[in-house]
């Protein structure tokens, strides 16, 4: 059926519609319906497909890409999209030092020689270019923000996407309306989509059952099983790139000792964690890269539960009789509390006395990023369909993230991480990423805990709702039956 208003009850409010500077998913998932990119991620999350571009040619030195733009694309205000808009948009993102500018660091310049052609010059060959251009931060907005200032523009943004700006009552609801100028014929099917802020898990579920919302974003894991058998409700578990980790601070003793890190990693029963935290809706992790990422290696020997091997590692360590340490967790997160409590008992046989320190989430986050912790819980979801961002973030101590805030430093892994960025051969890249995954697992710089899906519950009259492993969804494909 064509028409209707889709209501998505979500866990939190958006922050801003400025795609170049915000990092929160609740903003990203909204403006992805408004701005579009030259390429976009495929539904398996492992590749990209053309969107506002129809194709590209690359120069023999692999440093110049010439993109042809899709004809007939208009912004929601009816003005045609041209190469000048593309150049302006990518240049804006390159300037966003506090935002996503780093993703475009390989770009030397952008040119718009004809209205339908965009040329991107690179500083050096760059394998993740198409994946980077598929990032929402490189979404196309009108040249010079249509004559407005950036802050004015982002109060009622304009794009080429299937939906246009409706309203945003901060803290309450955000509504987008059908873009009647949308280039994909017949889409979107819906008249509008409204995201309401419903922080309480139980209330979101009740809204779904009461017909007040059609999509419940992230129902509590404890309710997934009952929602599967609820009449009129479809429970979806989409493959995701979310990976949860136990991080070790290598600036603090005894976590410089690889045997200690390996011992702890080996002592964790990941299946028990999946059962206790995710109510069985997940898989133990074997690599710091999730299975939905290109170049993930299924055979990576990530350490799994083996108490005898854990004790043997402890015996080889600098603290063979154990030690006392602390795990820092954010207060109010029951999953973290459950994991920490399980770890407390699982590390006891190694002689490790684990204290749990709870701080309010903002403080815990600050302490984690300033490496003021012994052990902590952290996680990752992919932004692009290429491992480069995750790998640099995780293993390069000189990156802003200091190896996922662990201070892990394996020079060969760091070297390979940067070599893989500039290697265009797929097979050679696979070799490099295999090496990195093997060594990161062996070094146990973090204990890779589990992979979990994206949980969404919808009413049974919702059709075509699909979430990619990167978390994006295309509301233009969604329709409501009676």
């Amino acid at each position: 059926m064509r028409g209707g208003d889709l209501v998505i009850a979500r866990t939190a409010d958006s922050q801003s519609m400025n795609a170049t500077t915000v990092f929160d998913n609740e903003s990203i998932w909204i403006f992805e319906q408004i701005y579009q990119t030259l390429y976009t991620v495929t539904s398996d999350g492992k590749s990209v497909r053309p969107l506002l571009a129809t194709g590209y040619k690359v120069s023999p030195d692999n440093k110049t890409y010439t993109f042809t733009l899709r004809p007939g694309v208009e912004f929601s205000n009816g003005k045609p999209m041209t190469s000048a808009d593309v150049k302006f948009s990518i240049d804006q993102n390159r300037k966003a030092a506090q935002g996503w500018g780093y993703i475009d660091t390989a770009i030397k310049s952008v040119e718009a020689p004809t209205p339908s052609t965009v040329v991107i010059h690179l500083k050096y060959p760059w394998a993740p270019l198409l994946a980077d251009l598929s990032l929402f931060a490189n979404g196309i907005v009108p040249n010079n923000y249509g004559g407005e200032t950036a802050s004015e523009f982002y109060k009622h943004p304009i794009g080429t996407g299937p939906f246009k700006w409706g309203y945003w009552h901060k803290g309450s609801a955000l509504k987008l309306l059908r873009n009647t100028h949308y280039w994909e014929k017949g889409k979107p099917y819906l008249n509008s989509v409204t995201w309401t802020n419903v922080g309480n898990d139980n209330t979101r579920e009740l809204q779904l059952k009461g017909g007040q919302a059609q999509i419940d974003e992230f129902p509590a894991w404890s309710t997934v099983s009952s929602l599967k058998s609820t009449a009129g409700v479809n429970m979806h578990l989409f493959n995701s790139t979310r990976t949860d980790y136990l991080a070790f601070n290598e600036l603090r003793k005894p976590f410089q000792d690889v045997h200690v890190r390996r011992a702890i990693s080996l002592a964790i029963n990941r299946s028990a964690l999946v059962k206790a935290v995710l109510f069985g809706n997940g898989e133990p992790a074997n690599s710091f890269m999730p299975p939905q990422v290109p170049f993930y290696q299924k055979s990576t020997p990530g350490l799994q539960y083996d108490l005898a091997a854990a004790k043997a590692e402890m015996a080889k360590s600098s603290v063979p009789h154990g030690f006392t340490t602390t795990i820092l967790i954010a207060a109010g997160t029951s999953d973290a509390r459950t994991i920490a409590t399980i770890l407390q008992s699982e590390l006891k046989p190694l002689g490790i006395k684990l204290n749990i320190k709870q701080e309010d989430p903002n403080t815990a986050f600050s302490d984690e990023q300033n490496l003021k912790y012994d052990m902590t819980l952290t996680y990752w979801t992919m932004d692009i369909a290429d491992p480069d961002e995750l790998v640099t973030f995780s293993v390069d101590p000189k990156s802003g993230a200091k190896s996922f805030f662990t201070a892990y430093d394996n020079p060969q892994v760091v070297k390979d991480a940067h070599l893989a960025e500039r290697t265009l051969s797929t097979s050679k890249r696979q070799e490099l990423y295999n090496y990195m995954q093997d060594h990161a697992a062996s070094d146990a710089f973090m204990a890779f805990l589990y992979y979990s899906p994206y949980a969404y519950a919808t009413t049974s009259n919702v059709h075509g709702f699909f979430v990619t492993p990167l978390g994006n969804y295309h509301v233009e494909d969604v329709w409501l039956s009676k």
Binding site: V22, H169, K170, G171, T203, L206, Q212, N362, F365, G400
Partner: protein, 314 residues
């Protein structure tokens, strides 16, 4: 002292209250650990990005200088920019006040609607079965946690019967009346027992007064006697109790707002504290302080409206 002088004096008291609130809140929120830049940047926080945001927000200046800047803006009617949303903190806050005011006023009205008849039933037959029932049963409401009462009401009246929406604020006056009924009833159920007890006690006092006996002996009809003489005199202590409880409610509606997804100021306060959105936390606290003073002032003024003998002398 005239009524106007009294009101002006009480309104002037807002100034020291507001200044005191700003000082305490400003320094408390800035002294606790945590950083709004890390909320905004999330896992992508780097020292460089944090520094850019701190400079943009003026958080790289000394604390005292930040406080003077805040006060300077406040005197010009400007609460500053929300660090989280990047828009006017005043606009963010004032958009969230109406839902909370709706909840409080609606709850108070429902509490009165529940309390007056029940207190009357109890007081007019002291120590009878109905008196005991009225005194005991509402206490169950007081003992039950509001989040649980709220969920029960939603299951019964929104999921099973579908007479009300599960949650939300609604649109338009009638939409608000409809959507806010269950949350307001939840609060009223917790509020009513206290008001019932206060009202019943003062009704019993009034019923024993000589002027009631005189009025009865003069043949005043029971309904007129009750409305004009008993209720009007008995209601003053209940108004005090209600006023104090509403004062508490202003800051205490956050759980109800959370359960019923009401975009009110309590939710905003909690989220802003977690996000370290300093200007919004400061603004909301200021609004809380002013509202509590105003509610107490209204309660005082209502005494005079209810009882002409009340004067505004000190």
């Amino acid at each position: 002292m005239g009524r106007m002088t009294f009101v002006i004096q009480r309104l002037l008291m807002l100034v020291p209250v507001a200044v005191g609130v700003t000082i305490v809140v400003f320094f408390m929120i800035h002294l606790i650990p945590g950083d709004p830049a890390r909320t905004i940047l999330g896992i992508h926080a780097t020292p460089q990005r944090i520094a850019i945001l701190h400079k943009q927000w003026g958080l790289d200046r000394p604390l005292v200088s930040q406080y003077w800047l805040f006060m300077d803006r406040l005197l010009h009617g400007n609460l500053g920019q929300s660090l989280y949303y990047g828009t006017s903190a005043g606009a963010v806050i004032f958009e969230r006040i109406p839902p909370t005011l709706w909840l409080i006023v609606y709850s108070a009205v429902l509490a009165v609607i529940i309390s007056v008849p029940l207190a009357t039933i109890a007081a007019t037959r002291k120590d009878a079965v109905r008196d005991h029932v009225v005194r005991a049963v509402p206490l169950i409401g007081l003992g039950m946690p509001p989040f649980w009462v709220g969920i029960l009401l939603v299951y019964a009246l929104a999921i099973k019967v579908r007479a009300f929406p599960v949650s939300g604020y609604g649109t338009g006056f009638l939409g608000h009346v409809h959507a806010m009924f269950l949350p307001a009833l939840t609060v009223a159920i917790a509020l009513a027992p206290v008001v019932i007890r206060a009202l019943r006690a003062s009704m019993l006092n009034v019923l024993g007064a000589e002027y009631i006996t005189t009025a009865r002996s003069k043949g005043v009809p029971p309904s007129r006697l009750f409305l004009r003489h008993v209720l009007r005199n008995a209601v003053i202590p209940a108004v005090t109790v209600l006023g104090i409880n509403i004062g508490f409610l202003i800051g205490g509606t956050v759980i109800i707002e959370n359960i019923f997804a009401i975009p009110g100021i309590g939710q905003l306060m909690i989220n802003s504290i977690f996000q370290r959105d300093f200007p919004v936390v400061q603004g909301v606290t200021l609004v809380f302080g002013v509202l509590v003073v105003l509610v107490n002032l209204l309660a005082d003024l209502s005494y005079a409206a209810l009882d002409p003998r009340v004067r505004f002398d000190r």
